[in-house]
Amino acid sequence: MSGAQIEIQLIGIVVAAACALPGVFLVLRGMAMMSDAISHTVLLGIVLGFLATGDLESPWLLFGAAAMGLLTVSLTELLNRTRLVKHDAAIGLVFPALFSIAVILISRFARGVHLDTDAVLLGELAFAPFDRLMLFGSLLPRSLVVMGAIALVNLVFIAAFYKELKLATFDAGLAAALGFSPALIHYGLMGLVSITAVGAFDAVGSILVVAFMVAPAAAAYLLTDKLERMLLYSVGLGAAGAVGGYWMAHLMDANIAGSMATMIGVLFLLCLLFAPQRGLLAVAARQRRQRWEFAQAMLAIHLLHHEGTPEAEVENRLDHLQDHLRWEPAFAHNVVQRADERGLVRLENGSLHLTEAGRGLATTMLADKR
């Protein structure tokens, strides 16, 4: 691996970590789409900052972008509060408006400057190692330094306010009653998202920012019940997506950011299918098992109901189940066989008898349904 290859992957990992941390809270708050809005509208802040200072390197661009991120959030909430527009529609109204103003400003006043809209959407990671700056006596890729700093800010913020973020996300009412301002926490988090989006979009573009914020968090949510682990897994999944995406781009000679976003999507899909408890396969297997167990319980209850009565000879026969329980013959055979294997029933000359265990199951099931 060349130095540039390693650097590009490092940048990818750092961007993934920086995005995944606030992304977890966005996903838990049901605000994933806010990352999409903010990662686009920050462009307006950058353009305005550039027009004011005439300098693409000015730190004012970062402030302008962060302010625009917060403006996006508050405009969305303002629209939502009129009760005339729903929350998702409010995002859909605010973000294209601010983004398109930015696009117009670029095409009118900033043509020829490195602010083209393609780069905004997808970035160009391949060139990131060429843009370097001096730090601690060595020449480092600019994106790596900027995103490293932003990842650190995110980590420190979330570590410091972990308790407050958790409380305000789980129960904003109690947070407010206890004197923690949920609004302050909310805007703090949105500030982080904005700064992260600005830092990241230069290197990787806004699509990857959204992918890195939402997909790893959504995937980690399927894997664990603990918030700490969800944060850890999101960072890990994001980093894996970054490295995997880099090599996919390498093999296919494709856009790196696009490949990383795709790879993260693939990782999410794998979690969706194979997550141990919540994955689709696990859920399907559980439902199948429950279906058989329920059928066996029905069988046991049916047998118990007619046990020792004169009609038991007729009711409690294998070939009668299809009439009485409306079961297909094949299904009835299957259920009886499973119940037999579990030691719930005995089959003698086509008539069915409950065992002690079967009687126990039927009585507990009936008791539970009180």
Partner: protein
């Protein structure tokens, strides 16, 4: 009455959404050490009243004081049990973690809960009969267990006045019994509880004070004085199914 004796004092409280009043000029004095049920028909403003007292929404007019001072200065004395359905029970966290949230107010900003908080949370869980569930993921709880988790969290707040929004809503008989015992224990310790309640029949059994609310305050005071047919009729209007049952019961 000496205001220092009053756990909660509400004066002229008015809350409006847009221009529609939800609470209209409500006055309420709650002495220390009572269990007060807040009852009234749907849309009477019961939850709104709790939220306005706790500063979760801004009233159009009125004052609230807790032991003679504004709520903002008395947060440490107040415990809050929101409606069970107001939070996302799929949130990735454990029962113990939720209970420890009750102590966050005392910890203040930045300070982390420690071993002492864990111990206090475990003993709060024990009081509501949920000690075995401490490490359980909250999405696995039944409705009654969720409610008891919330009560344990309120106990962690170690408050003087508790506000509970429908603590009995949709809970099983065991939980209902556990909550009643807990309320009585709180009263024995001199604490004050205001709870939004729906089941009129159990008001005299579970509570000793009652507020009848329907946008305006219909009546408030000791149950045996104000929980009368006349007051109930003026709070609930035509919907007096409960009253008819009660009369049948009395004449029988």
């Amino acid at each position: 009455m000496d205001t220092k004796q009053l756990a909660v004092q509400v004066a002229d409280l008015t809350v409006a959404y847009q221009e529609k009043p939800v609470l209209w000029d409500v006055d309420l004095d709650v002495p220390q050490g009572v269990l007060m049920a807040i009852v009234g028909p749907n849309g009477a403003g019961k939850t709104t009243m709790l939220k306005a007292i706790l500063g979760l929404l801004t009233p159009a007019a009125g004052h609230v004081s807790i032991f003679g001072k504004p709520y903002q200065q008395q947060r440490g004395l107040v415990g809050y049990v929101p409606q069970r359905g107001s939070v996302d029970w799929d949130f990735p966290t454990s029962v113990l973690d939720v209970v420890m949230m009750g102590n966050y107010g005392k910890l203040g900003w930045l300070r982390r809960p420690g071993a002492a908080d864990r111990k206090a949370a475990l003993s709060a869980l024990e009081k509501v009969g949920m000690a075995d569930y401490a490490d359980r993921q909250i999405s696995q709880l039944s409705g009654g267990q969720q409610q008891r988790t919330f009560l344990a969290r309120a106990l962690m707040q170690d408050a003087q006045v508790y506000f509970m929004d429908e603590p009995f809503q949709g809970v099983d008989a065991t939980t209902e019994r556990a909550i009643v015992d807990l309320l009585k224990e709180l009263r024995a310790q001199g604490k004050t509880v205001l709870a939004v309640h729906h089941d009129l029949q159990t008001v005299p059994e579970y509570f000793d004070w009652v507020l009848l609310l329907n946008v305006r305050r219909i009546a408030s005071g000791p149950v045996n004085e104000v929980f009368t047919d006349e007051n109930l009729r003026s709070a609930y209007g035509g919907r007096v199914g409960f009253l008819n049952k009660r009369q049948d019961h009395e004449s029988a």
